[in-house]
């Protein structure tokens, strides 16, 4: 079967958007994982940056093939998560959020000041190695895995932590282990997203992984709702499509984008998909 030219054009026009939907879906899941244990960590953009930078260096400097680069791209973010995890996860609420933002800013300074990372010029000329099959394959796999975890006993413990940490600890949930597990999973997902994004868009720069993207990733999960992994992905889809759908409004579109977020939070407090995972009776 051959693709008719108009369809080919259509797919090409929205090709980057289609990539972005998948990548942002992965980022939303990376946020979902930590929110699911009641943690407000905003380190996802930093993890994404580590995944992106390390994978591009592997491609460009070491000449590794992409089948090796993609799995290895989780390495740097996961190691970083393990190192910062212990002292950082003792914090809660706002403090944790701000600490993770601070770590992201420190990383940004590293990208800017170390020549290997290209400084302000970033890294360009990245070959297009990722494609939709990889992106959506990983997204589906991640949704499936998180869904299965959510339905298991681990999921119950996670929900207990989200509702009331002290009570969960009394019930015998090892809080630190779960938090650490969630942080590492989150880092791995964000790292993969960073690697995929870098290998479809030919350029990465130090400004892409700071405060603003961190908050945007959070808003994906919050808009969708954190009851199920799929809800956060839906949130990412909506917020990624919105600026493109509103393109005709030119400079007022960000105003409307903001208003839509406000209205959604005020009137859909559980997110767009406020359902919960149904578990087998305990």
């Amino acid at each position: 079967m051959t693709i008719p030219p108009w369809l080919d054009d259509f797919l090409w026009t929205y090709g980057n958007l289609v990539h972005a939907l998948g990548v942002n879906g992965l980022l939303a899941l990376s946020m979902y994982v930590v929110l699911a244990v009641g943690q407000l960590s905003l380190g996802q953009a930093a993890f994404m940056g580590l995944g992106a930078y390390s994978s591009v260096l592997m491609t460009q400097q070491l000449g590794l093939p992409f089948w090796a680069v993609l799995p290895l791209s989780v390495l740097a973010p996961v190691v970083f998560a393990l190192v910062i995890g212990l002292p950082t996860l003792r914090l809660s609420g706002v403090y944790l959020a701000i600490a993770t933002i601070g770590l992201g800013e420190v990383l940004r300074a590293v990208y800017l000041n170390v020549d290997l990372f290209g400084g302000a010029l970033g890294l360009s000329g990245i070959p297009e190695r990722a494609d939709n099959t990889m992106i959506y394959g990983l997204l589906l796999a991640a949704i499936l895995a998180l869904w299965l975890v959510g339905r298991s006993g681990i999921g119950r413990a996670m929900e207990a932590m989200r509702e009331d940490e002290t009570a969960a600890a009394v019930m015998g949930v090892n809080l630190l282990r779960y938090k650490m597990g969630a942080l590492v999973a989150s880092a791995a997902l964000a790292g993969l997203a960073g690697c995929l994004n870098a290998h479809v868009s030919s350029f990465i720069g130090p400004g892409e992984y700071g405060f603003e993207p961190a908050v945007t990733i959070l808003s994906y999960a919050l808009l969708g709702g954190i009851g199920t992994p799929i809800a956060s992905v839906v949130g990412a889809f909506i917020l990624t499509l919105l600026p493109e759908l509103l393109r005709e409004l030119s400079d007022l579109r960000l105003v409307l984008n903001g208003v839509i977020i406000v209205v959604a939070v005020l009137f859909l407090p559980g997110g767009v998909l406020p359902f919960r995972l149904r578990r087998r009776a305990a």
Binding site: Y95, S219, V255, G258, V265
Partner: protein, 293 residues
Amino acid sequence: MLAQQLVNGVLLGATYALFALGFTLMFGVLKVINLTYGFYFSAGALVALWLVRTLGFGIWTALPVAAMAAGLIAVVVDWLLLTRLRSAKAPELASLMVTLGAVLALYSALTAWLGSDIRRLPPDVISGEALQIGSVRVTLAQLLILGAVAILIAALIWLLRGTKLGLAIRAMADRPDAAELMGINTLRAAAIVSFISGCLAGAGGVLIGLQRNAIQPYMGEEMMLRGFVVIIVGGLGDIRGAVIAGMLLGLLEVMTAGYVSSNLKEAVAFLVLVVVLWTRPSGLFGRAMTRRA
């Protein structure tokens, strides 16, 4: 050079402290992560600019008017967006999210309306004269701003420690339900706190805009990250803590740029933040006015 650098640090620190005053009050008392705070800072500066340039106000009459305008915007935003969430005892994520949307909408509307160009107050609104004391130079404008900051800090501490309203605000920060049982109208008190915070933000915007000779819609947004550092290191809701943390941060940045490397100037703030949080999670200066967050 050391003397001048110390003065530079204090002046920079004063701007951080000024920004953080209302921020720590809003955050510490109202218990929401309100990302719109920086917008009131910008709004104050822009209103003052309009008053001075279009209506011919003097800067010292424009300052309180602009501050109050920013305060009113803060009350309206808080009332429209956060009252419901607060009375529903919604999790802090919701307030973070709703103010995030509001920030996006507000700044975009402001730039769509005014453009994102930098503007400045007419150069003659404040004297550009400088004092030379030994090897140290300070401009008159900088000294005036330092004075204004000191007055605002003193006024805020007096309000919180020396008045009945301040007592009610501190009670509300501690236990909102119990405060309500004492007959304190916490909705009204929250509006007052929003107003005061907004006024402080607006005044900060005018003064800092004046000192830097640059006013543009995103100026508040650019202060936010450092604002977070200051109020967290100082302890949420702790006025004196915020002032000390602001000063220390200013000095640290200047000393880093002056004696280590200017490449590290920005990163040092966040490094300090992370280290403080790792070692003293409730801020550097003992108990905050409000415990926990």
